[in-house]
Symmetry: C2
Subunit: 215 residues, 2 copies
């Protein structure tokens, strides 16, 4: 059965976005450099259609492995963007332009129903209003035997973690501080979540730790 795999970049003080996220500042204040480790990599540039070039090496290998064998993606409304609440008249189509970097069916968890959106390059957005297990089921079916990627944000990840639905999570820990913002592990005090590390790869600018949820 296809695995649900979660990848996210987190600061050493456990934030995945800064405070005051907005359309102008999607990752929040102070988070401009959060994904520096990834944006210059060859695999990142390929996903985003940024032409050739980009760094290769350990970090690129990790990123490439994270995006390989993915048949579908799940994300939360906040990651999809456009602000909370009902969809507006000219509804938001995501941050990524006409050819988003997913190139798979993407299932967006939201309280507000909406017709599916077909984008260029193989990305489709389907809006799921009946919860995380429904989104996972639809994503697995769409993935056609490949794995499902959980994109984020923190709130969606917490829900999947709390239910023990994540098969594999890799946290890319960057060695600086945000101080406030979206904490990856909020709302999990009662979950007794325990993880077990299955692989660790260290580089000067980012530490990649892959975990599974301990039984």
């Amino acid at each position: 059965m296809s695995k649900l795999r979660f990848n996210i970049t987190m600061t050493l003080d456990a934030y995945v976005a800064g405070p005051s996220q907005s359309v102008e500042n999607p990752l929040g204040e102070g988070a401009d450099h959060l994904h520096d480790w990834a944006v210059k990599l060859k695999t990142f540039r390929e996903m985003h259609g940024d032409g050739g070039g980009g760094e290769t090496g350990t970090n690129d290998d990790v990123l490439r492995e994270a995006v390989e064998n993915i048949g579908a993606t799940i994300m939360g409304r906040n990651m999809f963007g456009g602000g909370p609440g009902p969809w507006r008249e000219q509804p938001w189509k995501g941050w990524w332009g006409d050819n988003p970097p997913f190139h798979t069916p993407v299932f967006v968890l939201t309280h507000y129903a909406r017709e599916p959106l077909v984008m260029q390059g193989g990305t489709t957005f389907t809006f799921v209003t009946d919860g995380i297990e429904s989104a996972l089921e639809q994503a697995r079916e769409a993935a056609g035997g490949k794995d499902v990627a959980l994109g984020g944000g923190a709130s969606i990840a917490q829900q999947y973690m709390a239910e023990g639905l994540i098969d594999e999570m890799e946290i890319h820990i960057v060695p600086f501080l945000l101080g406030s913002g979206a904490r990856l592990f909020d709302n999990l005090q009662d979950s007794e979540l325990r993880l077990e590390s299955v692989r660790t790869i260290g580089t000067p600018s980012v530490t990649h730790v892959k975990y599974r949820i301990a039984k």
Copy 2:
């Protein structure tokens, strides 16, 4: 010149102690298992005079390296214990009994003056009231060419991090959550602290990441 080295165990959600620290519950609520990775190790048992035995292997190697070549230790008042405020009539002598596991001169940062305490096994407690740089200077002198260990807690570590005084810090990241309590990286928003990882060692129960402060 002797290095100031900082070692601490931190949960994945960036806490080094739970809430409501007290004499009965020195590490705070929910933190009983925080140091599990270390307490069963051969080196830990030796430091604490727990007799022979104890696990060897990767984690033990890391712990042994952390305590090797240490000539003096610095800690904060909260780590030394006994509650805040002026020393009482029968003043607190630390958590560790008559033969504490430091076996070096220990410099305790406090606002309240007190005569030095000589314990068994080579540990002496000297109470420093004139700040972190004074404590560091005295510790370096006492260390006799060996390194100085910074013991904690979070508050003291933040002060040394903010001033860029730590040469090497190794964080032992344990894969569970405390949810609240003492955050290692509090009070550092304005410091623009950036670290660079110099070594990473992964095991299932703990990830050891050694950093230096980036220039």
